[in-house]
Structure formats: structure tokens, C-alpha cells
Amino acid sequence: MAEKKKKTKNNLVDQSVYDSYKDAIPEDQIWTFQVEGLQKPLIRKSPDNAPTLKVAITVVLAIAVFISIYFSFYILHNDPFKYTTLENGKTELTRFSNPGEIYELRIDYLVTDVISESYIEKNDAGESVRHIRYSLKTDESTPIEEIHEYAFNCDERIRRLEIGANVTSIDDKAFYSCYALQEIRVDKENPNYRDIDGVLYSKDGTRLICYPIDHDAYLREKYGYEEQYWPTENWKKTGEDKYNEYYTKAYEEQINTYVVPSTVKEIGPLAMNYAELFTIYLPEGLEKLDTMAIFRNWHLERVDTYTGDYKGETQAAEKFIPDPAKVKASLPDSLTYIGSDCFNSAIEMDYIYIPANVTFIGHHAFWGAARKENDGLIGLYEIHAALDETSFKAQVDEGDQWTGQYDNGLLPKNVPVLYGEARAK
């Protein structure tokens, strides 16, 4: 025990080790002295087989680097179209990687070759700009029947997609974060899908699948607006008129308003995420707002419900806006399901009403939709519910933190739910 203690102490006191050890190191051997159990110092001397080693190291490294770079680039390089043959024999478009300037794409048959051709065009400033034009060769014996999740993930160039007649399954996340996507067109012969003026629906019109993120750009072109306009700045705070010379009521209704057709029972996951919408009219009869259905609609001011028959428009010159007499504030009474993060970041909204039939509210459904600013609370800082608290708790399957929070001093405060409320006019 005593010996162990002594050993430990000795190990820590360098001076004593040094004093006892230094005489063992002669002055003329300071660069060659070998500590027992360790290798011998070799200072400014190469190993005996240095020339061979040098060659071996150089060759091995060169080969290793070449192989690594070759295979890394090989797996990183994206063919523009990646397909998978599924177990059921169907061909699925797994991933599309825009090779540069593909802005419009038809998904119907397997693409066998992408031919690019560069050309020079003068831009508005009169400068010559090089562009690439692509043409696709397809194999018409292999129809594309499914589109995989995230197939077009984060593509920033595609503006128009055409879905062919053979595509029978499209994943809800297929067009996730396609910021430039303006319209999705579906072949009339397609058995499962259709489009209503560039918005993707199920064939029977009961499910809204994808409202393209940049659909407002398509609408501006359709209604003859050259630029994107905005309401008067801070009109809510200053009390000024929201509309101005450019941003008129007509502009708002045509570009930033969407009326969901009355056939729709469900708005699918991520269906209207990032949309540049100020008002959404939901039909009475809608049952489900799925996960992240209206996620991050930063400018969304109102979600209202209308009653009546509206099948959706195709090329009508006049935009359909429901009769105010048939419109009520907030969500439809028929609604039963509000998915997680459904209204995430709807900070411009100021009223929400949970109707009596709702049985499920996903976690963080209203997250980031309320905020404290210098002059008070903004957004959905109160949530109104039709049911009284007891009935609500008994009936609704509530996800964690579904009401959202806002800053309150150092700690956040949960947005309160006002139970047993009547719907606002």
C-alpha cells in the first residue's frame, strides 16, 4: 500500500524524476538517448529504407486520392432523373435533379436521355447571357406511375409541372420546397388526379394535394399584373388604408386569396405550405386539415368558411369570391382534424375558432402564431373554442403544446384557450 502511494506521488513530481534520471543521460547523447520501453529518437535522420518508403507512400496516396475523388463524385453526381422499379413492377420517379435550366417538365414516361444545347440570348439590359436548352428523350414503353417523396425536394427552378395520364400515385411530400413552382397541370386522362387552375387535387376533388408555392406568380401573369405588390406598410398599426395605388382590393382577391372548392373534404399534408396567401376560404364540409397543411403562410390574415357550391375555376376571367352573407369567420363546423404544425407561423391572423366537432389537434398546431411586440400581443394570442373546457378535454386528442406560446418576460406563456365561446361574426 505504502509502496503504491509512493509510486503515485513519484509519478507526479517531475523534479524528483528529473533529478534521479538526468545523470543517466550523458551530454553527448541527449539526441540519441532511448527511454526504456519507447522507440529510439531519430533526429534529422531518415529510416534505412527511406527511398522505398517515399515511393510507396507517394504511390499509395496518389491511388487513394484518385479512387476517393472518383467514387465520391460518382455518388454525388445526380443524374437528372432517378427511377426505381417497384416490387409491383411499376416505375417510380425517385428524384429529379435539375441539371440547370429546366423550368417546365412533363412526367409521363421514363426519360432515357437529356440533351443539352447552349445558346446565347440578350437580356433586358442588352447583355449577352449564355443559357442551356434541354430536350428529353423518353421511352414510351415505360410509363411513370408513381412519384416518390421529396422527388423534387428544394428545386428552385421548376415553374410548371405536367403530370401524365399514367401517374397514379404522388407522395404528399413530392414537391416539397419547390419555391418557383407556379402550376401543376394534370392530363385529363389521369384516373387519380386533376388540377384546378394549376392546383393539384385528387380526381374526385375531395382532397387538395398541392397549392404550388409560387402560384401567385402564375396568377399575376393570368390577371395581367407585371409585378408583385404589397399592402400599405404597417397598415394594421398605423390605421392607414390597407389598399393603395398598386395593391388594390381586386389584386388581393385575384392573387392573394384562395377559395378551396366545396368538394374538398381534406387539405393534405404540406398542401398549402409557404403559400403567398392573405385569405383562404374553406368550404363547410371540410373535415381534415392535415399535418403542416397551412404551414408558414407568413402573410395569412384570415381563414374563413363559406357555404355553397363551388367546383373551382379553370380559366374564368373573374375570380370567384364567396358571397359575404354566406361566409363565417374561421374554421368550418364540419372540421374534425387539425394536424400538427398546421397553422405554424400564421402570425398575421388574429382570430381562430375551434369548432365543436374537432376531435384531434396535432402538436404545435398553432406554434409561432402569436408574438409579443412593443405595443402588445399580435397574432393568435387567444384561441376560441366552441366546446366548454370539460367537453373539450374529453373529446379532443390534444397534441403537446398545440396552442403555441408567446414571450412573456423571460419565460414564454402558453396561448390561452377560451372555452365555450360563440363564433365571432
Partner: protein, 582 residues
């Protein structure tokens, strides 16, 4: 009993007072320097930690929310730059391990080379070099098929790399030679990089590189790459801590310095880690707010950088070494062979290689706190502080653990504890996927336990690194820290390839340039679990090399004795004008 304790306290204060300016016998560091270390390392550490918010990678909030660069693009840029890195590092090691003191002829040749690289880099960036190739040919088509890059931008990225290395290389020779004799090898660069670094940190948030400024992702990528290349030319690493860790030839004193002033100096960062999220929580868009990069980070960084510069000069470097003028000159191949003879560097290399299995994974805690828990403000600060503080108390027992257990035992335990912790986290994510609060709570508890288990091995790891360098100095007459990069040559081709596994798997589950995909429950689950499982495998495998670690205290002390003997003899020879052998 109480009297005994009082006496000990009294003795301690007497000791501090007596050795405030002059160290005790056998010691090298006076207590006043402990105070300086506390402030200088604290500021340097906190400042360098601020820079963790600003880097060219997918985990940086500026990239995530404002630049919106595709995840795979970072790997592609790494590959474009990879071959020439071998050339730069070769030259760099030669310069660094000779501390910038080169023969005149070689120095002039290197300057000429670096300046020509600067010119070449600028040409590649400014001229439309890609037009020299057939625009419809295989090469251009191939390059256009890379994520976030096309042929034209690839040349600009390549040019940026060449420009950066030319610029950094010439600066390296110039400033090393000028500043190293005065400020030592660890902290000299703070004196030339402090001001430009502050300017670049202030600029990054204001540069028009966001998605709104440049809608085209390819253009955004190369311009952001260029901006960050300029930013990273100027260093502000945690160099004072490295300096303080080597502050004494006495290994016991090193442990004391590392355990007390250095560890306590991290308090500044702990306070910052508590306050910063509260400030961020007050910004309208929280972590996504651009003002974080325009005001919060620049102000905090510049303040700490300023403090660092005030106290940096008061920390001394005391590595036992021959006088600078009598330094052993290291040839390139001598340096290479020197480090390759070091068995313990090979052990560390294999560990690093296995660790690369986790390369490319996202910070699990960031996802957990921001996307699962949706934390911000004080709550975020408190949980982050709680988890990171969990590692502090065990650190005070580090000397005990280092005495009681061998380094081998500690490091093997560490790898197993990480694997076990990760296993529990994966299980809770799978079993309680719909119960955000329950699942998150289990994860946080496990993180706390893992943090507690990490502290001692981290200190041991630092000490192992220092000992390996001491051993290298014994073997080769120099620490050859830069030449150690040769191991990166061998592992680089493997790690760069292995490091693609996770990004490619994550891409399959939707993780690209939009981090909002982490709000999609199913995708988030995969994005978290896949990398953790791969990482866990890495931890289990990483325990194996440590079974070969046999460098104990006794060997270390004898090595230090040899080094001190060399210093003593060479100094004596220097005084008597005898030429140095070796």
C-alpha cells in the same frame, strides 16, 4: 478537525500570497498568471465559441435560414478542393514546423509560388474559364449535374480555393517570421488576425448573399463560399488555451492549470451561453432572425476578442526546447517519417478514422431543442446550460480519476458510455415518438449523463494529445504538430468518402437546403436516428485502438526528463558558443 481544515485554507492563501509573482520551487507558473489565464482564456474561448455560429456548413443558422445552400454542396466543394489540399498542406507543414524560419532562397521561391497562386485564383474567379470547354460536352454536363454547382461556378470555387491558399500561405510565412519570436508559437496569429477577423464577423450578416438577394442557388453557393473563404483566412482559435495547456514542463502543474484556471475560465462562455439565447429569444424571428448575424454575434465576438488581446500577452509559453536560433531544422521527409514513427499518433489516427463514421450528421441537440422541444429564450438557455454544466462538477475530480484509472480504461469507458447513451436516445425516439415532452425529457436526462461521463475523458484526451507531442519532441527534436497532418493524408480519402454516407441518407429523407423539413415528424425521426445509429457503431469500434495504448506516467516523466536535459545542455552549449549537434 475544523482547525485542520482552517489551517489548510490558511496555508493555501499564504502559498498564493507568497508565490503570487514568483512560482514555488519546482513550479513554473506564478499565481498571478493563473488569474491572467482565467481572463485571457475565458475571453478567447468565449470569442472562439461565438464563431461556431458562423461557418461554411449546413449546421450554421446563416446557411440554414438565409443563404439556403443545399446540404450536399458542402461535400462537393470539399471534393473540388481536396486534391490540391495535399500540396498546400505539404508546404504548410514545412513552414509551420520550422516556425517560419526558412532559408532565404526557399523563402523567396515560396513567396513567388504563393503570389502566382493568388493571381491564378483571381483569374479563375473573374474570367469565364468554363467557356473554354465544349458547353454540350461530357465534362460540362457532368459538372452541371452536381447539387448547387455548375461548371462555371465550379471553376470559381476552385479559384477561390487557390486564391485562399496563396493568400494564407504568404501570410503564414510573413507573420510567423515577424511575430513568432515575440509572441510564441501558439498565440502570435492573434496579433495579426484580430482586427480583420472582427471586420469580417461584422460584415457577414450584411453581405447580400441571402436567398432574397441572389435567387439563383448556384450563384449564391460560389459567392457565399468566397465570402467565407475570406472570413476564414483570419484565425481566432482557442489558442490561449492551447498555450496555457503547455504552460509548464511540470506535468502535475499542467493538470492543475488545466483543472482550475482553464476550466473556470469557461465560465465566461457559460454565462454567454445563458444570456445569448435569451437575447435571441427577444428577436422577432428568433434563431431565424438576420439581426442575430448583424448585431448580436458581432458585438459579442468583438467584445471578447478585445479582452483577449488585452490579456494575451500575459500568458507565457514554457515548452522545454532549445533556443529558437538553435532549433532543429526539419526537412519535409524527415518530418513525415518522424510523425509516422510515433505509434501513439497511429492509435489516434485509427480512432479519428472510425469517428468519421459520424461525419456529416447534424447536431442532434439542435434538432431536439429547436424542432422537437421548440425551445427559445431563457428555457433554451437553461436546458443548454444544465446539460453543459453537468460536465463541470466531474471535472474537479479529474486529477483523482487520472490517478485512479489508466488513460486506456478511461477512454474505453468513454466510448462505451457514448454508445449506450445513443442507444437509449434512439430507443426513446422510437418508443415515444408521439409524446414530444416525454421523449425529449428522456433525451435530456441521457444527454446530462453523457456530458458527465465526457468530462474526464476530454481532459484525458487533451493530456494524451500533449503527451503524444512531448513524445514526438523526444523522437524527432520537434513537436511536428503540423506534420501530424500527414495522417490526414491517409485518412482523408477514406473519411471524405465515408462522410458522404450520412448526407446522402439524409437527402433521401428530405434534408436538403430547407431545414423546415425537420418539422415533418416522420422525416425528423429518420434524420435524427440514422446518423445516431451510425455514430454509435463508430463509438463501439473506437474503443478497440485504445487497447493498444501503453504510454503511462512513468514513460511520460522520463520523456520530459530527456527534453529538459536537452534544453539544459543546448542552452549551456549556446552560452559557451558550441555548435549544436543533431
Amino acid at each position: 478537525m475544523a482547525d485542520g481544515k482552517m489551517q489548510k485554507v490558511k496555508n493555501f492563501f499564504n502559498d498564493v500570497s507568497e508565490h503570487w509573482s514568483t512560482p514555488a520551487e519546482g513550479r513554473y507558473v506564478p499565481y498571478r498568471e493563473y488569474k491572467d489565464i482565467f481572463i485571457a482564456v475565458g475571453s478567447n474561448y468565449a470569442g472562439s465559441k461565438m464563431l461556431e455560429y458562423l461557418y461554411f456548413g449546413a449546421g450554421c443558422f446563416l446557411m440554414m435560414y438565409h443563404y439556403r445552400l443545399p446540404y450536399l454542396t458542402f461535400a462537393i466543394i470539399g471534393l473540388i478542393n481536396m486534391p490540391l489540399n495535399y500540396l498546400w498542406s505539404m508546404i504548410g507543414w514545412y513552414i509551420n514546423d520550422n516556425l517560419g524560419f526558412l532559408e532565404k532562397k526557399k523563402e523567396r521561391a515560396l513567396y513567388a509560388f504563393y503570389f502566382s497562386m493568388i493571381v491564378l485564383g483571381l483569374v479563375l474567379i473573374l474570367a469565364p474559364v468554363s467557356l473554354l470547354f465544349d458547353q454540350n460536352g461530357a465534362f460540362v454536363t457532368f459538372m452541371n449535374g452536381l447539387e448547387g454547382v455548375n461548371c462555371a461556378s465550379a471553376f470559381k470555387i476552385f479559384g477561390t480555393h487557390i486564391l485562399w491558399n496563396g493568400w494564407a500561405g504568404s501570410r503564414n510565412i510573413f507573420w510567423r517570421k515577424k511575430l513568432l519570436p515575440k509572441f510564441g508559437r501558439y498565440k502570435y496569429y492573434l496579433y495579426c488576425d484580430f482586427f480583420p477577423k472582427c471586420v469580417m464577423v461584422c460584415l457577414l450578416g450584411w453581405l447580400p448573399l441571402t436567398q432574397a438577394d441572389i435567387p439563383d442557388v448556384v450563384e449564391r453557393v460560389w459567392k457565399a463560399n468566397l465570402a467565407f473563404a475570406v472570413y476564414s483566412i483570419f484565425a481566432f482559435g482557442n489558442s490561449l488555451e492551447a498555450c496555457a495547456q503547455n504552460i509548464s514542463p511540470n506535468t502535475h502543474e499542467r493538470v492543475l492549470v488545466r483543472t482550475y484556471p482553464i476550466k473556470l475560465s469557461h465560465l465566461a462562455h457559460s454565462i454567454l451561453a445563458l444570456v445569448l439565447p435569451v437575447i435571441i429569444g427577444k428577436l422577432p424571428n428568433k434563431w431565424e432572425d438576420i439581426n442575430l448575424f448583424r448585431w448580436v454575434i458581432p458585438i459579442a465576438f468583438c467584445s471578447f476578442a478585445f479582452l483577449t488581446m488585452i490579456f494575451a500577452g500575459r500568458i507565457k509559453e514554457r515548452i522545454p526546447q532549445p533556443p529558437l536560433e538553435k532549433k532543429v531544422t526539419i526537412g519535409f521527409w524527415d518530418g513525415m517519417f518522424g510523425v509516422m514513427r510515433n505509434k501513439y499518433k497511429w492509435i489516434q489516427t485509427v480512432v479519428g478514422l472510425l469517428d468519421s463514421l459520424g461525419n456529416g450528421m447534424l447536431a442532434f441537440t439542435t434538432i431536439l431543442y429547436l424542432y422537437t422541444f421548440r425551445l427559445s429564450g431563457l428555457l433554451y438557455s437553461l436546458i443548454v446550460a444544465l446539460v453543459s454544466f453537468a460536465g463541470t462538477p466531474p471535472d474537479f475530480f479529474t486529477p483523482y480519476f487520472m490517478k485512479r484509472f489508466s488513460y486506456k480504461q478511461i477512454m474505453i469507458f468513454y466510448q462505451f458510455s457514448r454508445a449506450l447513451g445513443n442507444g437509449i436516445i434512439v430507443a426513446s425516439l422510437l418508443l415515444f415518438r408521439n409524446k414530444v415532452v416525454l421523449c425529449g425529457s428522456i433525451c435530456v436526462i441521457v444527454l446530462i449523463l453523457m456530458e458527465m461521463c465526457k468530462t474526464v475523458p476530454t481532459s484525458v484526451g487533451h493530456d494524451m494529445d500533449i503527451r503524444i507531442n512531448d513524445y514526438q519532441m523526444y523522437l524527432s527534436g520537434e513537436r511536428l504538430e503540423s506534420f501530424s497532418g500527414v495522417f490526414g493524408w491517409f485518412t482523408g480519402p477514406i473519411t471524405s468518402f465515408v462522410g458522404l454516407i450520412i448526407p446522402l441518407l439524409l437527402l433521401e429523407h428530405g434534408f436538403n437546403s430547407n431545414w423546415d423539413v425537420l418539422y415533418v415528424d416522420a422525416s425528423r425521426l429518420y434524420i435524427i436516428i440514422i446518423p445516431i445509429l451510425i455514430d454509435t457503431l463508430g463509438y463501439l469500434l473506437m474503443s478497440i485502438p485504445y487497447f493498444f495504448w501503453d504510454y503511462d506516467d512513468d514513460k511520460q516523466n522520463k520523456v520530459m526528463a530527456v527534453l529538459r536535459r536537452r534544453e539544459e545542455v543546448t542552452s549551456k552549449q549556446e552560452e559557451s558558443g558550441v555548435k549544436l549537434n543533431g
